[in-house]
Every structure is written in structure tokens, then in C-alpha cells.
């Protein structure tokens, strides 16, 4: 008995959805084992996760709040990966975006109040974008690997932010805590619902997803990005400016990650600190992969990941099972989706034992 793999010529949407659901199911089944080992009941644990993520207006708000930066960093990864530009630096770009927001929005510059929010967003977008444009130029000029550069830049940026919030940007009123001066009230995002933490950053994320989807589907730029990503040689031969297109992608990708940082500062914390992001930049890669790099899918993948983390915290408080379970669920889901994408590309064929004759 043996199995053979053959490439598929066509993959239907139904198959894609079925494989995604199956992947999530398998991940949950596997995670049931450590839940049992920890002395818990998988069904009630999962039930508590769902309840903790969606069970009350407060829970839902927390989940959406958590999803907001993930949507943006997920889109940052998705748009870059579609063009085969490997941006692993969303974490650093997020912090640089947040830093730009603080520089522009905390009263250091005299900007009229009504323009503060647009100014904060544009500054964050450009700062994040620049953080990706520079590695892309280095790649084009010198063949420097953008994976290494963007990954290592994350640490550089976070150390730089620490330097600033311990020094020139340190808030003198923060009782010695290493945090920056706060944003002016006019530079902050409004709450979507009174007394709940979710804020207008969520709308920014959803709008960005929609715009990206339109760009991919409807615009010349989206067409050119696809051509460059799928076959750079043919794109170049056809006269599509490969380098310029890549730079646009880099600006968008870094900019979206920068916006994620703006959202966290302007919508949640109002100041910059070195614990602003618990790895939203890296989780964005997971989100984008779970979504199959689809802009709309990214929204749902971000919601899933956010729900698992928020729900697992609440489940952990109720049962005493470690909330590391959330990492397990997300990591296994990603693995299962990756395995699933393999089956989307290949068909498995079963074959009977071969007859070896003629002896």
C-alpha cells in the first residue's frame, strides 16, 4: 500500500473552506490532550474560551480591541507576502508608528487640534512605511536579505524606543515609570461604545482591509503587484517597474504596521511604553498565513486569534489551566492550516501494492 502526491490543476473555494475548518478542528482535537493532562475537561475549557471571548459585551469588546492591531499587522504581512516581500519587521514598524504618533500628537509640535488625528495617523503610517522601504532598497541595491534586516530591526527599534522613553520623551508625571509623555486629548481615538475599550482603530483596520481587497481585485496597482509577486521575470519583461512596485508594497506594508502602533497609542494606552505590543507584529504573520493572505480573510483570522487569546485568559482564571493554551491553539492552527494548504496544492492518490513480476 502506498500513497502518491499529484499537483492539482484547480482548487475550488469549497475545498479551501473545508480544509480551513478541518484544520481548526484538528488543532482543537490535538490541544485537547494537554487540557486533559492538566486535569481539565476539553469541552468545558473550549466552552469557557468561547464564553470569555464573546460571552458578554465586555468580552466582545476586549476581543475586538485585541483584534484591532492584529488586523493591521496581519494586513501588513499579507500585502507584503503576496508580492513575495518578506516583511518580518511589523513589530518594529508598529513601535516606530507609535513613536511617530507620540512625537506628533503629544504637543511637542504645534498642530491645530482638528488636524491632530489625521496628522498622527499619517505620521505613523509614513514612519512604519519608511522602516520597510529602507530594507527593500537595500535588498534591491545590494541583494541584502530583507528577512534578516527586518527581523533584526525589531530589536533595534524597541531598544531605541526604550532609550527615548527613559530619556528625552520620559513623562515626568509618570512616577518614574518608563513611559512617554501622553497624547493630547484631541489626538486620541474615540471609544466606539461608552465605557467599553474598543475604539475607532477597529474601523481603521476594517477600512484598510476593504481598501486592500479593492486594490487587489480592481486596480492596476494590485494587478502589477500580483504579476511582480508571481513571476518577477515576466513582470519585468512586460515593462512593469518591478522595483518601484516593490517599494509601493513596502510602504503599504510598513505603513499598515505603523498604523497598528498608532491605534494602540491613540486608542488604548495614550502613551508609549516598551510593553505596548505583546508581539502583535509577529502574530500578524500568523494571522496573514491563517487567512491565506486574503485581506478579508485577515479580518476573520485576526478575530479568531484575538478570541483565542482573550478567551484563554478568562478560561485560565476560571479553571487554573495555564493560558499558554492560547499559544498552543494558535500555533497548532497555523501548522494545521499549512499542512492543509499542502493538500490544497496536491491530490493524494492511493495505490495498490505494486506487482513485481517476471521473476
Amino acid at each position: 500500500m502506498s500513497f502518491r502526491l499529484e499537483p492539482r490543476t484547480h482548487t475550488s473555494l469549497r475545498l479551501k473552506l473545508a480544509v480551513s475548518l478541518l484544520a481548526a478542528l484538528v488543532a482543537l482535537l490535538v490541544v485537547a490532550v494537554p487540557v486533559l493532562l492538566a486535569g481539565g475537561n476539553p469541552f468545558s475549557a473550549y466552552g469557557l474560551i468561547v464564553q470569555g471571548a464573546f460571552g458578554s459585551p465586555f468580552a466582545l469588546s476586549e476581543t475586538l480591541n485585541r483584534a484591532t492591531p492584529l488586523i493591521l499587522t496581519g494586513l501588513a504581512a499579507a500585502v507584503a507576502f503576496r508580492a513575495r516581500l518578506w516583511n518580518i519587521g511589523a513589530e518594529g514598524q508598529l513601535y516606530i508608528g507609535a513613536l511617530a504618533a507620540v512625537l506628533v500628537g503629544s504637543g511637542l509640535l504645534a498642530i491645530p487640534a482638528p488636524l491632530l488625528i489625521p496628522a498622527v495617523m499619517i505620521a505613523g503610517f509614513l514612519a512604519g512605511g519608511l522602516m520597510m522601504v529602507v530594507p527593500t532598497i537595500l535588498k534591491q541595491r545590494f541583494g541584502a536579505d530583507e528577512v534578516v534586516i527586518t527581523l533584526l530591526l525589531n530589536f533595534v527599534v524597541i531598544l531605541f524606543v526604550q532609550l527615548l522613553i527613559e530619556g528625552p520623551l520620559k513623562d515626568p508625571l509618570a512616577m518614574g515609570w518608563p513611559q512617554s509623555v501622553p497624547l493630547l486629548a484631541e489626538a486620541r481615538f474615540d471609544k466606539l461604545v461608552p465605557r467599553l475599550r474598543m475604539h475607532w482603530g477597529l474601523v481603521v483596520g476594517l477600512a484598510a482591509a476593504l481598501l486592500l481587497w479593492l486594490m487587489v481585485r480592481k486596480t492596476v496597482l494590485g494587478f502589477e503587484i500580483k504579476a511582480v509577486g508571481e513571476n518577477q521575470a515576466a513582470a519585468r519583461f512586460a515593462g512593469i517597474p518591478v522595483h518601484r512596485t516593490m517599494l509601493k508594497v513596502a510602504l503599504m506594508s510598513g505603513g499598515l504596521a505603523g498604523l497598528a502602533g498608532v491605534g494602540e497609542v491613540a486608542g488604548v494606552k495614550f502613551y508609549l511604553s516598551s510593553d505596548l505590543s505583546p508581539g502583535f507584529g509577529y502574530s500578524g504573520i500568523v494571522v496573514a498565513m491563517l487567512a491565506g493572505l486574503s485581506p478579508i480573510g485577515t479580518v476573520f483570522a485576526a478575530l479568531f486569534v484575538a478570541a483565542v487569546f482573550v478567551g484563554a485568559d478568562s478560561m485560565s482564571r476560571a479553571t487554573g489551566i495555564s493560558n499558554y493554551l492560547a499559544d498552543l491553539v494558535v500555533a497548532l492552527s497555523l501548522l494545521c492550516v499549512l499542512v492543509g494548504s499542502f493538500f490544497l496544492r496536491f491530490r493524494v492518490r492511493y495505490q495498490r501494492p505494486a506487482l513485481v513480476g517476471g521473476r
Binding site: F223, N231, F237, V356
Partner: protein, 537 residues
């Protein structure tokens, strides 16, 4: 199984007199070394191989002919165990090969020389031959291996310097190393996939001599090719595949070009006729153009030539002698390191494919899958690829999908691109249909200049003559056409005038009507560049 005779297998294409010749061949080749029976392979709705039978005898050279998509590659992949057939069996000598096991095929003595060599460039010929068969570090093995290889060389005439690094070998020598690699494994069946694509006519003739000698020593050879001339020259028997089936099988001694061509396409092929050219003003002028290595695979040195409206100029040469540089310059991928390329009197000063396209240059790239189409994009997208920014495909940066689809549907109809529809991904097209897509893309604008780089490489005769017809029609309309090809038959059929490149130098060989293959072959090999043969002074 051995009871079958060649005459009995000669198939429906046989003619009178077949029996006598068949009988003599049958005596010599009684032993069947390879037999494929009822091979059927489906990919979804596509039937790539449909009940194929094929037999190869000891000491026989069997030519396997067929267009791209006819099922040759699939059949060879099944034989090699890369694919698993849905039905049928592969038998080498007396042993049925387990499906899907390349190891078993190798062990049974099937060797293959691919079109693209699989050699480690930094190792010597000797090490390359041993690579994969035995560990290179084993003490003493090298000497035994050398003795064995030297014996094979003496028997076959595959002369090659075993101690040179493969990177320093010529293409012909590399191919010999590939063949030696197979022979070193004591193969019974040797498969050569388009072996002459990279050779000069003289080198190809040398290869044929080797193959004949190997066959005389009892090796069974399968020779895959598109070039009828060489198939007729080297093979004993010809099997023609068409649309996954065996269209016919005939003894070479009784075959003629027309009959085979008709078998390949399944209908009578119209000979492409070419009237005398009426060249007009110069359109493209190369003035002492040099292009350093790096931009293209091989440099171009002080090339000067002119291309006039209303003529087809062919560039002959062994691949890698400067053709890529000429193509890059006329495709807008490079500008000269020195000298000038004039298009209609204006020098091309920036590497800008879009500007060239806008200036009326149609460009057909050498490697259509790599440079010509984006495989994962649709036919409609690929047809719009060069002009996606302008009308009618886009307005204000937004795509007009309807216009793109309309253009694609028109092109599919006009150029007979065989596909399920304009949404089909380009990677699913066969080579010929991909080339027709590119042709449709570039000819739509009634270009002034057409650069056709290997326009029909790997295409069946039907698609070939279709593309030739279109190029000649464009010439008659007044376009200048530059054809770069490794296929001399194609150049003689198409070109009004021939240029020959060798080692980055371009020489004008003159009107093709006054030339013969031999003299062009000598020029291709770098002899008497200054005084071309066959041209009256």
C-alpha cells in the same frame, strides 16, 4: 513477448515494401528491452496518455515525435516512475517495473539525458559521472571508475576530458558527460530529450555517430525530438504521438517528411510559402554595439547590422553566443555598454520595455514560461500584461475586467488558443498555446518591429507553421522581423537574410537563398567570420 516483430508493429502508416526491411530489422533486434503496454494517465478531465503501447528493441534507435502536450513527457515520466499510470504496465527486459518508483527504473537500467543538464559545475567530469552512483570519497574507487569510463569512451567515441571541471566544458562536452553518466550505470535503455537543441549541426552529427555506435553495441535508444530532419537521419523507427495516443509508427527507411508531419498534426500541414521580400528603409541599426556579460549570459562585442522594414532577418548561432544580448537590447531590458542601437533613427538610451512597446516593438521572449507569461494569472490578465496601464484595460488606475476579457476572447478565437476560457490560468496552457497567447498580445498593435526569440522552440509543426505564417504576414505588412533561432530549418524557412553570431561577434551571412546549412554551420562554429562561405563576393 519477444515473438513480436518490428514489421508487425510498424502500424497503419506502413507502406508497401515494409515487410522486407522489417524482417531484416527484426532479425537484428529480436530482443525487446522495453515495452510499455496500454499506458493511460489522466489529470482530472485531461487524458495525457490514452492506452499507449510502445516497444523498444535491443540495438534500436526509436524516435519519439509529437507536439507539446502530445504526451511524450508524461509517458517518459511514467517510464521513470515520476508519475503513476492509471492503467498499463512498464516492462524493462523481463521485469515489470513497480509504478511510481524512479529507483526501480534506474535499477532496471533506464537512463535519461534531460534537455537541461543535471551536472555539478564545480566537479570534474569524472566525479559527475560517479556522483549518485557511489560515494565520491571512497578510496581506490576512483581508479576503477576511471578504467570503466575510459573503456566506455573507447567503445562509444564519447571523447571528453574527465579531469576538467564541468564548468569549463562546452555544451557538447557536457552532454557527453551526461550520456557517460547514464552509460556508467550500465543502462539498457537510454532516453535523450531534445538532445540537439544546444548543438551546432556538426556537433549534432557527432552525437548521431555516437548513438549509432551505441545502438550497434546493443543499447536501446529513445530519441525525443521535434526536428524531422534529424529524426530521419538517426532513427531506425519513428513513433508519433498525438493527443495522448499513438498516431502512427513507421520505419524510418520508409518515412518521409510530409507523412510524419501529417501524422503529428493529424491533418495535412500547409507549407508556409514566402514571397520575395521587398525591404524598405532601415528600421533598426546596431552601430558597434557592445554589451558586457552580466546583463546577458554572454557578451556582445562590436556588433553592427541593419534591419530593414519588410524583411525577416534570422540570427543563427549556437545558444549562448550573444543572442541573449541582442534580445535584451531590443526588449528594453538593457542598453549598450558602448555603441548605439537606433530604432527608426533614434538611439535607445534607457532600458524601458514600456517605451519600446509604445514605440511599436513586439517582443517574444526566448523562455516563454519564465519571461512571457505569469503562470498563475489568467489568460486575460496575461494578454493585458504589457499594456495594463492604458486604454482599454484601465481607467483612472482601475482595471476594466470586461475589456480585458473581451480582448482575451477575441485573441482566443483569432489565434486558436486552446483553453477552457479566458479565466484559465496560463500555466495550464501547452507550450504552443502559451506562445500563441504571446503572439496575440504583441501582434494586436500592428508592430513595426517584431523580435521573435526562439518563436517555435518546442512547438508542434501545426503551431510552428501558424506562427511562421503570422510572422511572414507581418513582414508583408511592412514590419521588420528579427528571428533568433537554434533551428536552422526554421531560419531557412523564414529568414530573407541571415546573420550568424559566434562568441559575441555578429557576421552578415547574406541572403538565405544563397546559403547552405554547411556553411552556416561553419560560421556558427566560429570559422571564417570575416569571409563567409557560400556568399558570392
Amino acid at each position: 513477448m519477444g515473438g513480436r516483430t518490428t514489421a508487425g508493429l510498424a502500424g497503419r502508416a506502413g507502406q508497401s515494401g515494409e515487410h522486407d526491411k522489417g524482417a531484416t530489422l527484426a532479425n537484428r533486434q529480436a530482443e525487446i528491452v522495453l515495452s510499455l503496454q496500454g499506458i493511460t494517465k489522466r489529470f482530472g478531465p485531461l487524458v495525457a496518455n490514452d492506452g499507449l503501447d510502445l516497444t523498444l528493441h535491443r540495438g534500436e534507435i526509436l524516435a519519439l515525435l509529437g507536439e507539446n502536450g502530445a504526451g511524450k513527457t508524461t509517458l517518459m515520466n511514467i517510464l521513470f516512475g515520476h508519475y503513476v499510470q492509471d492503467e498499463g504496465s512498464v516492462r524493462v527486459a523481463d521485469q515489470i517495473l513497480p509504478p511510481g518508483s524512479p529507483g526501480a527504473a534506474l535499477a532496471a537500467g533506464v537512463g535519461m539525458v534531460h534537455q537541461h543538464f543535471a551536472l555539478a559545475e564545480n566537479l570534474s567530469g569524472l566525479d559527475n559521472i560517479r556522483l549518485g552512483t557511489e560515494p565520491l570519497m571512497r578510496l581506490g574507487a576512483s581508479r576503477a571508475a576511471r578504467r570503466k569510463i575510459e573503456r566506455i569512451i573507447a567503445e562509444s567515441g564519447l571523447e571528453v576530458d574527465l579531469d576538467r571541471r564541468v564548468a569549463a566544458l562546452t555544451v557538447g562536452e557536457k552532454q557527453r558527460v551526461e550520456i557517460l553518466k547514464a552509460l556508467y550505470r550500465d543502462v539498457r535503455v537510454l532516453i535523450l530529450d531534445e538532445p540537439t537543441a544546444v548543438l551546432t549541426p556538426q556537433e549534432a552529427e557527432g552525437l548521431f555517430t555516437v548513438l549509432r555506435r551505441l545502438a550497434a553495441n546493443g543499447l536501446g535508444v529513445i530519441f525525443i525530438s521535434h526536428k524531422l530532419g534529424e529524426v530521419l537521419a538517426v532513427s531506425h523507427r519513428i513513433a508519433v504521438l498525438r493527443a495522448g495516443r499513438k498516431a502512427g509508427e513507421l520505419l524510418t527507411a520508409q518515412a518521409d517528411r510530409r507523412a510524419i508531419a501529417d501524422l503529428m498534426v493529424g491533418k495535412a500541414v500547409a507549407e508556409v510559402r514566402r514571397s520575395a521580400p521587398t525591404p524598405g528603409k532601415a528600421l533598426v541599426e546596431f552601430r558597434k554595439v557592445s554589451l558586457a556579460r552580466g546583463v546577458a549570459r554572454a557578451p556582445l562585442t562590436d556588433a553592427s547590422f541593419t534591419l530593414r522594414r519588410g524583411e525577416i532577418v534570422g540570427i543563427a548561432g549556437v545558444s549562448g553566443n550573444g543572442q541573449a544580448a541582442i534580445a535584451a537590447l531590443l526588449s528594453g531590458l538593457a542598453v549598450p555598454s558602448s555603441g548605439q542601437v537606433l530604432l527608426d533613427g533614434t538611439p535607445i538610451t534607457s532600458a524601458n520595455p514600456r517605451a519600446l512597446v509604445a514605440a511599436g516593438v513586439a517582443r517574444m521572449p526566448e523562455d516563454r514560461q519564465h519571461d512571457g507569461v505569469v503562470g498563475t494569472m489568467s489568460i486575460a490578465d496575461n494578454i493585458a500584461l504589457e499594456e495594463v496601464r492604458g486604454k482599454p484595460f484601465a481607467r483612472f488606475g482601475l482595471l476594466d475586467r470586461k475589456a480585458m476579457r473581451a480582448r482575451a476572447n477575441a485573441a482566443i478565437a483569432a489565434y486558436d488558443i486552446r483553453c477552457p476560457g479566458s479565466d484559465t490560468e496560463a500555466r495550464l496552457l501547452s507550450g504552443g498555446n502559451a506562445q500563441k497567447l504571446i503572439l496575440a498580445r504583441v501582434l494586436e498593435r500592428e508592430p513595426r518591429l517584431i523580435l521573435a526569440n526562439q518563436p517555435t522552440r518546442g512547438l508542434d509543426i501545426g503551431a510552428q507553421s501558424e506562427i511562421h505564417r503570422r510572422l511572414i504576414a507581418a513582414r508583408d505588412r511592412g514590419a521588420a522581423v528579427l528571428v533568433i533561432s537554434e533551428d536552422l530549418d526554421e531560419l531557412f524557412a523564414l529568414a530573407d537574410r541571415l546573420l550568424v553570431v559566434h562568441a559575441g561577434q555578429v557576421s552578415d551571412a547574406g541572403p538565405s537563398a544563397a546559403l547552405d546549412r554547411g556553411s552556416v554551420g561553419l560560421l556558427m562554429a566560429g570559422q571564417s567570420i570575416t569571409a563567409p562561405l557560400g556568399v558570392p563576393a
